[in-house]
């Protein structure tokens, strides 16, 4: 072996080490609990669910069409939902349309009571007692917030609470892009 090849061989472990470092460094800043939705780019699943205030009124997937909107999955047993509720109220006051999906709540009364005391940012609220529709959406926890375009397609799913930081950094640019009707809109 000549001197240069010998030197090169000696540097192989260093190169491998640096490669591994870069690869693992990325892992430090990624959140493994945040899964991207399998539904992105697809139309929302078909469903029929009662309204939370009046279980005789039924809603279908048609309520998620017509304009870009948020679909917020929430429940009273979910502390993070409580944390984001104020911010949802604020967004609703700014004119952002939000549809609620009440996910496997302890009871309907509790949920209605929550809306009456904390304010109701939702245009309407779907009451998913058994979580069967949430399963169609691939929901695996609460809160989750889907951004849905005017054609009723899922554009993005955010896991965790919606707050000032998330809204300004990720969701608002995407949402405003959808409102302007420009295509394609990406995060």
């Amino acid at each position: 072996m000549s001197k240069t090849t010998r030197l090169l061989v000696l540097f192989i472990p260093l190169a491998l080490f640096l490669g591994m470092t870069l690869f693992l460094l990325r892992g430090l800043f990624s959140d493994p609990t945040e899964l991207s939705s399998a539904l992105v780019g697809k139309p929302v699943p078909a469903f029929e669910l009662p309204d939370i205030y009046d279980t005789d009124t039924m809603h279908t997937e048609a309520v998620l069409q017509g304009q870009p909107m948020l679909l917020n999955v929430w429940a009273t047993w979910c502390p993070t939902c409580r944390a984001e509720h104020e911010y949802l109220n604020k967004l609703a006051a700014e004119g952002v349309p939000i549809v609620g999906l009440n996910y496997k709540d302890d009871s309907r009364e509790k949920a209605v009571n929550w809306l009456n005391t904390l304010g109701d940012p939702y245009q309407l609220n779907l009451y998913d007692e058994l979580g069967k529709v949430a399963l169609e959406f691939g929901v695996y926890g609460a809160p989750e917030t889907f951004i849905i375009d005017a054609q009723g397609r899922v554009v993005y799913r955010h896991v965790g609470d919606v707050n000032e930081r998330v809204w300004e950094a990720k969701l608002r640019p995407l949402f405003e892009c959808l409102q302007q009707g420009a295509q394609p809109c990406e995060v």
Partner: protein
Amino acid sequence: MRSLMTLVFGLSFMLLSQHATADQREFETAAQQQLYYELINELRCPKCQNQTIADSDAPLAKDLRDRSYDMVMAGQSKQQVIDFMVARYGDFVHYQPPMQWSTSILWLAPLLAIGLGIVVITFMVRSQKQQPVTLSAQEQARLKQLQQGADDDS
């Protein structure tokens, strides 16, 4: 000490028996039962990162077991149930990842490691063989003598 051991044994037995009874289901055929258990041990709970839905006590895992059971009892095949789950929860939900560009490293990495090993070993063996032989002064003289002898013969 002894009573503590008894307590620990007793408690773990209770846990075991509870686990076994938590998910009692009725099946019409043995094939359905086998398919159901195969599925819940191959589907991954989206909420709990590294547990199968059979392992996990999360409410979501129960929902997915219920759905798997319903689908098995409705006569759906294994692939149909898996496709149903993957369509909603993504590839994450299945413990056997599909072969595609982003997952190819799972298949290639072992082959690469073996390949690299072979290359390294070959290099090492070669460099061992090529070590120059140094002769002592005595040996040098003997070598010369032999060479001269050979020259004389020819």
